[in-house]
Structures are given as structure tokens and as C-alpha cells.
Amino acid sequence: MTDRGTPKWRRRAALGLAVAAGLGLAAPARAQLEERLVIITSFSKDVTEPYAKAFMAAHPGVKVEILNRNTTAGVAYVRETRSNPPDVFWASAPDAFEVLKKGKLLEAYKPAAPGIAEKVGTFPINDPEGFFFGFAASGYGIMYNTRYVKANELPTPKEWADLKKPVYFGHIGISAPSRSGTTHLTVENILQAQGWEKGWATLLEIGGNLVQVSDRSFGVPDAVNSGQYGLGIVIDFFGLSAKASGFPVEFVYPGETAIVPANVGIIAGAKNPKAARAFIEFLLSDAGQKILLDPKISRLPVKPAMYANAPAGYPNPFKDTALGSRVSFDSLLSEGRYELVNSLYDRLVTFRLKELNAAWKAIHTAEAALAKKANAEGAKLVVEARRLASTVPINEADANNKDIAGAFQPVSKDKKPGQRQAEFEERWDAHAKKNYAEAKALADKAAAMAK
Amino acid sequence: MSGTSGVDVERVTFGYGATPVLDDVSLEIAAGEFFAFLGPSGSGKTTLLRLIAGFGTPTTGRIRVGARDITDLPPWSRNVGMVFQNYALWPHMTVAENVAFGLEMRKVGRAERDKRVAEALAMVGLDALAARRPAQLSGGQQQRVALARTLVIQPEVLLLDEPLSNLDAKLRVEMRAELVSLQRKTGLTTIYVTHDQEEANATAHRMAVLDGGRIQQVGAPLELYDRPANRFVAGFLGAANLLEGELAGSTFRHSSGLTFDLAEGSAQARPILMVRPQNLVLAPAPSGMGVIRHREHLGAVLRYAIDAGGARLVAECPYRAGEPVYGEGDRVALSVRPGGGALLPA
């Protein structure tokens, strides 16, 4: 493990946890809690209701009010209601918590609950500075509709690389990393696992097979559940809970998955801080962690001991070393280029999906033709076409360059005037359009040669 | 508020931009008078009427009803009743509701209101149709409802905007007579806008002829007919022979050589002579200056088109026993019936 992976604060935090637990801070203190607890969450009713009920049963004096918001609206709401904020922010997307933290909208806290793991896979469960805490883990993977797969005679996918196969052309959906913090982590995970250039090549080749880049995370499982397309790149609980609800779907974790925590945090200036803390302690308690195993929720507890009660076959990232531990995730690297990667993906895939599809379709066709009837010159053209359709227009050093990546971050007073986001985006868009068109032309030419 | 009042329009100008719709218009209409605004379309007559009703405010000038200066009063405070050209009956109300509306606005009690509505409808002979809606009425009936609706509020002045223009010819004559008798009965000051001189002649005590936003002449119908102030009035009120020429004493000489002896003189050296066709006297004369070009038989009257040395004239002669009848090509001598010619400024 690198230093970065286990910084000093983490050890201290762990110590603090142990001390707090030893002092019995987690003991119920219902007499002192406030009467209300207002929670902003992006979680569905299936998740929030059991928790609200169980929490109120444990603390009869507290009335829990759940405000359902998608992550964007939730962040905007917290930001705009500073004068009289809700108490708890509870959501999947780690990036939303980063935004809130940067905006000084979260309050630091040290949960006292014992037995919580420090990391899931290689990903730290809690915010290093104690502003938000993982209460459950989830991993990205591939969800597929069994009826669809059968009807279209598709093989069952196992790894990300499988999704590059021509057979999946027009059968895969994903949500845009700019729209889904968890997809972003998957993308970043692939980039870190395979390296910048190769990672993008994989993403673009998979991109060639995509039928949809959804603007919301749940759009993908929705479409797979309905059978609009067969495969979706989704977070595990979407797949697991859909299966539990009776949909004909299956879910697989590829080898290079990111297991990431879903988080909770106390909002700065919360009117009911005691109840907020009690809620977090409840989430991390045995009672709270157990609720995660509910098939409708299907999230992975962050308390390794809980897996003893899990049904057979329930994924356990703390035991199953294949899950999420292959990649050592560098969260500082990820944070620095967060907006840039999102924007780049949108330019290269989301907004040019039609062109990307066309290029890869042509490449697949040419390769199929060449397989039947070899043609050296044609093969060369296809190699060039592949290169064009899978090249990223910015190298890793530039992408990690603070000044360039900074152009994609929110306007702030101290931001140096330099190149603007719009200029990069225009360049990348032009790159994508031109390369994809050329790739298609070359592949078409190659296919013609193999006739 | 009861009783009728005169209307005093004082130097009213109205309109935007270079060409005002009304230009320095002054008028005094006496209480109880039936007064007509006569003019072609675009002459400003309807605009003047609407200003009196309060739809628009004069750019300059004042309008008084009786002793009240109403220039700055809104329409609803004027108590000046107006019947619109299209009647403007409210299609969503019954006849009775239409008529009752003004009384409602005046906060007249229910019982009194019903009584007055019934009276007003009886007055226009529509008491049986009180429960109908406007769309179910004929044009004439709609007109009567509009009238009843206006009269029921007992306005100080009644304004009628081309009230007969939407009716057929026969109905028009009937309604005209009804309007006149109604006005004579009530003595209500009435202003009547029309472009039809026959209507104005038939109804009005006095009238104002408007053209181009200016008043051309004000007077009793006969006065205007016989002594028009200018070519426009002369022509607008009926057929007129207009001849330019010179006046020497009481003898008018047209450039063609045609001369007329008139009963009067004029200060103007080169006036225009206006002679109504019926005031042109024809006499058989083989050496006369006039040649009959065309003859029309109109029943009681014979109309001749005459060429007199280049001047084209129209004469109308009664068709009765003992009078000569001329044929085309006949030569006639022309003279003006005493007092039958008027001299207009050139």
C-alpha cells in the first residue's frame, strides 16, 4: 500500500473511532434528541422508508422527514437553504459530497459505531477529513436482461473488455459520467487500471457499441428492465434490486470494478444536529447495516461482520478479493481531473454517439469481411481506422495539469484567466467529429477491398 | 339625473401626428335638438361622436353637456347614451339582461329595474322577446334592443352611430320614422351620425356636414340644401349644377357664354353658381344655348342632361299635364328659378 492509500489522518481517525467506541458515545441518548430530523436524499423509497421506520422505532421522540431529490436538486437545495438547512445529506454520488464539502456545507463528525471497515476494495470508506461517511458499498458492473439476451442470442458478458465485441453493437446502455457520480468512478477506474490512452481506447470502443448514454443513472436499469436494450453498465444494487423485484435481469461484477461507498453527511448548521448524529450512528449500527441486505435495497454493508447474516451468494467485497481490489484507486488524481474527464467523455461519446457508432459499425463490418477474405492493405486501413476511433485528443500529462483541468472547474474569483473550457471543448468536439468520419471512411474502404 | 341637455363642443382637435382626425371643431347643439353629423367615411363624424361619449379624449378643446364639462370624465360617468353601429349587444345575456345592465350599474333596485326594463322593451315593442338572446333576433329587433338598452338609463343625450346602416331598405325607413317620433316624444337631445344625406334630412332639426376632420357647415337641412357654404356641402347634400363664372351686378356669366339673371349679388368677383336641377327652368327655344342630350323618366319627374356650350347641366322638371316634354337634340333656353341659385366662394 502506498502512503497515499493510508495517510496519517486515516490512522488517527481509526484511533479516534476506537476511543469513541470505547467511551460508549454510541449509547442511545434519545432523551436529548430533537423532535425532527430532516433528511435530503437521492435514495428511493425502498431505501429510505425502512430506515426512517426503524430509526423512529429506535428513537420514538424523533419525527423523520425525508426529502427526495435527485442529486443535482439535492445539492442545489442544500446550497440555497443555508439560512435554515436540513440536517442530513444522504446519497450515493461521492462527487456530490465533494461539492458540498468544498462549499463548506457539511459539518465534520466522527462516527462512533464500532466494526466499520476502513476501506472497501481499495477505496477509503470515509472522507479523510470527516465530512462524510460511507454507510454502504456498491460496485459497478454489467446488468443484462435475460429475455433480451436470449432473444438476440447474445453471449453473457463477464468483463468490461467483453463489451467491446461487435456482437454487442447497439445493445448496451450507460449513464453519462457527467450525470452520474458512480459512472464517473467506473470510467476513472478503467482509466486508472488500464492507463490513460488505453483506458480511453477501451471506453471509445465500448462507446461504439452503445445504444444510449442516459442523462440519469436510473435511466439505464429502467431501459434494461423494460428490455429496450439488453445490457447496462450500472451500479450493483440497480441490478440486484431489479432482480429481487422480479425483473428478468442478472448482474455481474467484472474484474476491474470499483467498489465505492454510498455516503451520508451532516449539513453545516443543521437545526437538529443530535438527531442527525444519531441517524448516522444508526446507519452504521448492526440494526442499520442489516437493513442493507433487504433484497429491495441490495447494498453491501460496510461492517464486514454483517456478511455472516447475508443470504448465500451475496457479494462480499471484504472477503472476495476479486471485487474491487485489483485497482488501487488514486482519489486525489481522480478529484483533480474530475470535471475534465466528464467533459471529455461527453465530447467523445455522449454528444457524438451517432458518429462513434457509425465508425465502429464500419470497423466491425470491415474486420468481418477481412476475416473472410484477407487483404493486407485493407487490414492496414482498419488498423488506422481503429486508431482514429479510439484516440483521445489530450494526453494524460495535460489532463492532470492543474491549469488545464482548472478550466473545467467552477468559476471562482481566484481562477486565473487562461484557456476556457469552451475552447477545449470545441477542439475535442472537432477532433471527435473528424476522426470518427475518417475512421468510417477508411473502414468502408477496407471493407470494399475485402469484397 | 333626468332631463335633457345641450352639447357644446369647443375647439376640439383630436388625433396624433400631422393630420388630425378632427381639426378645431366647434359646435353648439341645443337641448332637445335632433342633430345629425353628416359626412363621408373618414370625415371624422364617428370620431366626434365617440369623443362626446368619452371614447378618446380631445387633444385640445372642451366638451360640455349642459353646464357640465365632461372632457375629462370617463365614459361611464357621462350619462350620454350611445347606440353602436353594430348594436354591440352582449351575446351572453338575454335581451332583458342587456337592457337591465345600465340600471344595474346605476344601482337601481331590483323592482324598479324590472319595471323600467319592461317599459323600455314595451316602448320598442319587444316586450315579448325579453328572454331571448341577441343571436335569436332579427337585425331590426337587435336595433330596438340596443335603443331600449340606451334609453332605459335616461341619458341626457342620445348618440346614434349609423344606427340604420345594418338594416334593409324598407326597415330602414320604418326605423327612421320611429326614431324621429321617439325623439319628438321624449324631447331627448339626439346626435345622429350618418353618411346618408336623405337620412339626415329626414330626421334632423339641424346638422353639421363634416369633411376631412373639419366642420364644413352647420344649419337646418333646407338651409344647407339651398345655401351650401361650399362645393363639398353642395354636392354632398344632393345633385347640383356647379358653374364657374363671373358676376356682373346680378348677372352671372359662364365661360361658355351662358348667362343667368340672379336675384342676388355677391361680393366675389368670380364665384361659383350652384343650381339644383329642379331650379333650372327650361323653355322651348330653337336658338337656345342648351341641347338636350339625354332624358330620363323618373315617374313624377323628368330628368334632362343638357349640353350648354360645353357646360354639362342637369335639370329636373315635374312631369305633369300641360308641361312641355323635350326630346334628345331639342334646343332649350335655360334660366334659374328666382331665388333658386346660390353663389359659393370659388
Binding site: 456530490a96 469552451a422 470545441e426 | 340606451t150
Partner: protein, 576 residues
């Protein structure tokens, strides 16, 4: 009067005179401007200001970037293409329907008219899922086509797919406004044309349609702007290269608080305004006010023979097409699992049980909020249309434009703006004003005001001014004349506006998500959102969607009944 006051009073009178307004009208105008300022201009400006902010303060560089970015230009032309296409297709659907309904005696015309509103009620998420399940590439239609004939129709693919879905969704705007206009045509207009030898298509093309033009243009302009600004459908079809989705995606990306989203929004607003202004130019100077009879609509004829078949077939086709998503929602609400099959696997009523147990209060909330919002819209709509048409108040067209601009304001922007502006303002008792449910009502009302305004405006254009003047002449003040004469005469247009506002507010989500602060205050749309976030919630979400549709359809049907009664009363055939 004190001598000093005289000139002042005179000047005041002079100004009012120049503007052609009474003091009451002026007060009305001031109230409206205050309302719009407080709940539209200020909140939206506080958010949109980001479009003009650079590192060193005010800048227009972002607008320059917009025009230098080929993706945005491409998006702009795509949006234009889609909007024009949707207007054309929506007209093809709506114009014949409106004509048949106005022209012929239909049994069940009221039902059809009410159904005509239903396409506007596309509940969030459920609507999208149902649409895909019916028309999607593996939806019912395509699965069956593929089984039977071995091909599929790409209803929901590409820009043309967007046009298809948008037209099905928004054609009621044209239907409603055109129907209101047709109902106001004096039958004598038509009769005189028939008398001169015009009939059939010629009669429609030369006389009837031109007379109903204000309604058609009002509806078509709404469709154009709405489609141009719409993001729901493009996102549903994953067509992101359009302006509205570009703006939305940029504004809502977490952590990406970049100015470009607001720049695009500003451009959307500007272009929408231009489109509305153009539609205003088309109808300006055409005095279609019905004279004396006050309308009553075309003479109805019984439908017989092949015409009957054609008319019915067409209407049924339109109804089936436009209601398919709703049938889909209905099926979904009774479905256990529905996946990759023409119909659900099995049926159940348990979703309704869930909904009635958990979310019954939401139905009452939706009725209350949307009813209030639609009422506000109609009151404001009539007032504004009236001020624009009947006074010379300076800036009155600006007022009209301002309202229409709200059509292009993203709900999210208004929602954030309202929170930002009113969260700090506290009601008695320390509750922030922004969390009071009334703000949700105002938010709904603001963004739907354009519908009511256009409907009222079109109706008002058909009321001859002399009808009001007659009332004034008889002693009614401006406001009394408005209340007693104008309002009853434009009931049809007002109801159309009410229904449109109500229907679209009932399924609004973006503002709802920001402004709902307590579960007890939540409307149906919020409930649908919450359910639709999990696979198990699909059924209950659909059940709530069905309830929303039923609520709106009932409202529309009652409105139609009222409008029809009014029409009959005013027509020649009616009895008192």
C-alpha cells in the same frame, strides 16, 4: 381642490389619457408587473447572472464561445428542425380534429375534446417508460411488427423520433386553441361564403381557417416554443444535440457550475421570444373580432356516409396514437413485470393499494396546487391580454414578451431562483417563505402563464371592442366591463388556458423537486418521482401516473361541458 394640486392632477390625467388607461387599469398593470418582478425576473436573474460572469466580473465572452462552438450551433439547427417539424406534424394531427369537432355533430365530442388534453399529461418518468414500452425499439408495436413481419419502425430514434413524440405530446395546444377560435366564428361568415359558392375544402381554406387563425397561430407558436425549449423528450430519446438538453445537462451536472448552461438558457429565452413576436406579427392587424352575434361557432352538421368513416377513422387514429403512452401507463400500473414482451407478464391491483395507502394526500395536494396555479394563470392571462389589447400603456408588449419568456425558463432555474430569493424571507413562525407550499403554486403558475395568456389573448381578439364600450357607455367602469362583458365572452379561451396550465402543472417535476420541502406537501408528480427511482416502484409510480391523468381528464371534461353550454347559449339555436 387646493390650487397647487390642480396642475399635478391635470398632468396625471394627461398621462393616463395618453396611455389610454383608467386608474384601475393602471393599478392592475402595476400589480401584474410587481408579481412578475417578484417571482420571475428577480429569481431568474439571480441565477442567470452566471452567464455574464467571468473571472473579472461582467463579460460577454461566454456568448462568443457559444457561437464559436460547433456543437452548439449544430444543436441550434437541430432544435429548429425539430420544432418546425413538430409544428407541422402537430398541425396535421390537430387541425382536422378541431375542424371535425367544430363542424360535425359528434356523439361523444366532449369525450374526444377531453381526451385531447390528455397527451399533455405525460407523467414524469412513467410516461417515458410507458412510451418506450409501446413505441420503443423493443416496445409492444415493434415486437409485434418484428414477430409478424420481421421489421421495426424507429418511432423513437433520431431527430425524427423526437418530432414524432413531441407532436403527439403537444398537438393539444393547437387543438385547444383552434377549437376555441372556431367556436367563436360567426356562422354568418361561413354562410355568406357558402352563399357565394364556396364549399368544402375551399370554404375551410379561404374562410374558416383564416378566421380561426389567431387560435391556430397561438397554438402553433406554443408548440414551436415548447418543443424548441423541451428537454424531456430529447432526453427520453437520448438526443442530446439539441439546445435545451445541452443547457440542462450543463446546468445540472454536479459540480459543473459553468456559465455555458445559462448562456444557452438565455439564448433559448431570446429565440423563444423572437418566435412569439413573429407569431404576434402574423396575427397583428387582422381584426377578427366577431361582430354583433358574438360567434356561436360554425353550424353543426350531422355526419353521414363516407365522410363519417373518414372523420371517425382519423380521430380514432389520433386518439389511439396520442393515448398509447397513457394506455401503456395504465397497463404498467396493473402489471407485475413487463419486460421485453408486448404485454405485461401478469396483472395485479396491489400497486393501487400501495399508492392509496402511502400517497393519498398527494392527490389532494395536486388538485389544490394545480387548481390554484391555473386560476392565477387565467386571472393574470386575461388581465395581461386585456391590457395589451385595450390600452396604450407603454411597455405593454414587453409585458407580453416577458410572460412568454418564462416558457423558455428551465424549471430548475426558476426553482433555484425562488429558493435563493425567498429562503431568507421568513413567514410568521420562522418558516422560510420558500418552503411554504404556496411558492410551489407560484412556481407552477409562472411557468404556465404563457399557456393561459395565449389562450385568453386569442379569445379576446375575437371580442369586438364595441361590446365593452357599450357597457362603459351604460355606466360600467373598465373593470366592471371586463368582468361582466369580456370575461363571460372569453370563457372558452379561459377554460382552455386553465386546463392547459392545470394539466402541465400536474406533471411538473423540476420545480417540484426543489420546492417541495415536506412529504405532506408533496404533489403526485413528486410521488411518481420517488417511486420511479427503484425497480419495485414502477407499478406504484404508474398507478400515481394514471391517477394524475384521470384527475386532469376529468377537469378537462368538465371544462369542456361548461364551454359547450356557453356556446349553445350564445348560439342561435339555444334557448334561454
Amino acid at each position: 381642490m387646493v390650487a397647487l394640486e390642480a396642475p399635478l392632477a391635470a398632468r396625471r390625467v394627461g398621462l393616463l389619457r395618453r396611455w389610454g388607461v383608467s386608474p384601475a387599469q393602471l393599478a392592475l398593470a402595476v400589480l401584474i408587473v410587481a408579481f412578475l418582478t417578484a417571482f420571475l425576473i428577480v429569481p431568474v436573474s439571480r441565477v442567470m447572472v452566471a452567464a455574464f460572469e467571468g473571472p473579472t466580473g461582467f463579460t460577454l465572452v461566454h456568448f462568443g464561445d457559444f457561437f464559436r462552438t460547433s456543437l452548439f450551433l449544430e444543436s441550434f439547427f437541430n432544435s429548429l428542425y425539430v420544432a418546425v417539424g413538430a409544428v407541422v406534424l402537430a398541425s396535421l394531427l390537430a387541425v382536422p380534429c378541431a375542424y371535425f369537432l367544430a363542424r360535425f355533430d359528434f356523439k361523444g365530442a366532449g369525450l374526444i375534446q377531453a381526451l385531447g388534453v390528455v397527451p399533455l399529461v405525460m407523467p414524469p418518468f412513467v410516461g417515458a417508460v410507458a412510451m418506450q414500452l409501446i413505441f420503443g425499439r423493443n416496445g409492444t408495436v415493434n415486437l409485434l411488427l418484428n414477430d409478424w413481419f420481421g421489421f421495426r419502425i424507429p418511432f423513437m430514434e433520431g431527430l425524427n423520433g423526437v418530432i414524432f413524440v413531441e407532436a403527439l405530446h403537444y398537438f393539444p395546444f393547437i387543438l385547444l386553441n383552434l377549437s376555441a377560435s372556431l367556436a367563436n366564428i360567426d356562422s354568418s361568415m361561413e354562410e355568406s361564403a357558402q352563399n357565394l359558392g364556396a364549399r368544402g375544402w375551399t370554404l375551410f381554406r379561404r374562410i374558416v381557417f383564416p378566421l380561426a387563425m389567431p387560435g391556430y397561430v397561438a397554438g402553433a407558436a406554443l408548440v414551436f416554443v415548447k418543443v424548441f425549449d423541451d428537454l424531456g423528450t430529447p432526453l427520453l430519446l437520448s438526443q442530446t444535440n439539441l439546445l435545451a438538453p445541452q443547457a440542462y445537462l450543463r446546468i445540472t451536472s454536479v459540480g459543473l457550475n459553468d456559465p455555458m448552461g445559462y448562456v444557452i438558457s438565455a439564448i433559448l429565452v431570446a429565440f423563444s421570444l423572437m418566435a412569439m413576436a413573429a407569431s404576434g406579427l402574423i396575427t397583428r392587424g387582422r381584426d377578427y373580432a366577431t361582430q354583433q352575434r358574438g360567434g356561436g361557432g360554425l353550424a353543426r352538421r350531422p355526419l353521414v356516409g363516407w365522410r363519417k368513416t373518414v372523420a371517425w377513422s382519423f380521430i380514432i387514429l389520433v386518439v389511439v396514437l396520442s393515448l398509447s403512452p397513457h394506455v401503456g401507463i395504465l397497463l404498467l400500473s396493473f402489471a407485475t413485470v413487463w419486460s421485453f414482451s408486448p404485454l405485461p407478464d401478469a396483472f395485479t391491483i396491489k400497486h393501487y393499494a400501495t399508492v392509496f395507502a402511502d400517497s393519498a394526500h398527494m392527490m389532494g395536494n395536486t388538485l389544490l396546487y394545480c387548481g390554484l396555479a391555473a386560476t392565477i394563470d387565467v386571472v393574470l392571462g386575461v388581465s395581461i391580454a386585456y391590457l395589451v389589447a385595450r390600452t396604450r400603456l407603454p411597455g405593454r408588449r414587453l409585458l407580453d414578451g416577458l410572460v412568454m419568456a418564462s416558457l423558455a425558463v428551465p424549471g430548475l432555474v426558476l426553482g433555484i431562483g425562488i429558493l435563493r430569493t425567498y429562503y431568507g424571507v421568513e413567514l410568521p413562525g420562522g418558516v422560510p417563505l420558500a418552503t411554504f407550499w404556496g411558492m410551489l403554486v407560484i412556481g407552477y403558475a409562472i411557468r404556465r402563464l404563457p399557456y393561459a395568456l395565449r389562450a385568453c389573448d386569442a379569445a379576446l381578439k375575437q371580442v369586438h371592442e364595441s361590446l365593452e364600450e357599450a357597457a362603459e357607455n351604460l355606466g360600467a367602469g373598465k373593470l366592471t366591463a371586463l368582468r361582466r362583458i369580456v370575461v363571460p365572452l372569453i370563457t372558452g379561451g379561459m377554460l382552455a388556458g386553465f386546463v392547459t396550465s392545470f394539466a402541465t402543472a400536474a406533471v411538473e417535476l423540476s420545480e417540484t423537486l426543489l420546492l417541495v420541502t415536506r412529504d405532506v406537501d408533496a404533489p403526485i408528480s413528486y410521488g411518481i418521482y420517488v417511486y420511479m427511482q427503484s425497480p419495485a416502484g414502477r407499478g406504484p409510480g404508474a398507478a400515481l401516473g394514471v391517477i394524475a391523468v384521470i384527475v386532469v381528464a376529468l377537469g378537462a371534461w368538465f371544462s369542456h361541458r361548461i364551454a359547450e353550454r356557453e356556446r349553445l347559449r350564445r348560439g342561435r339555436g339555444g334557448t334561454a
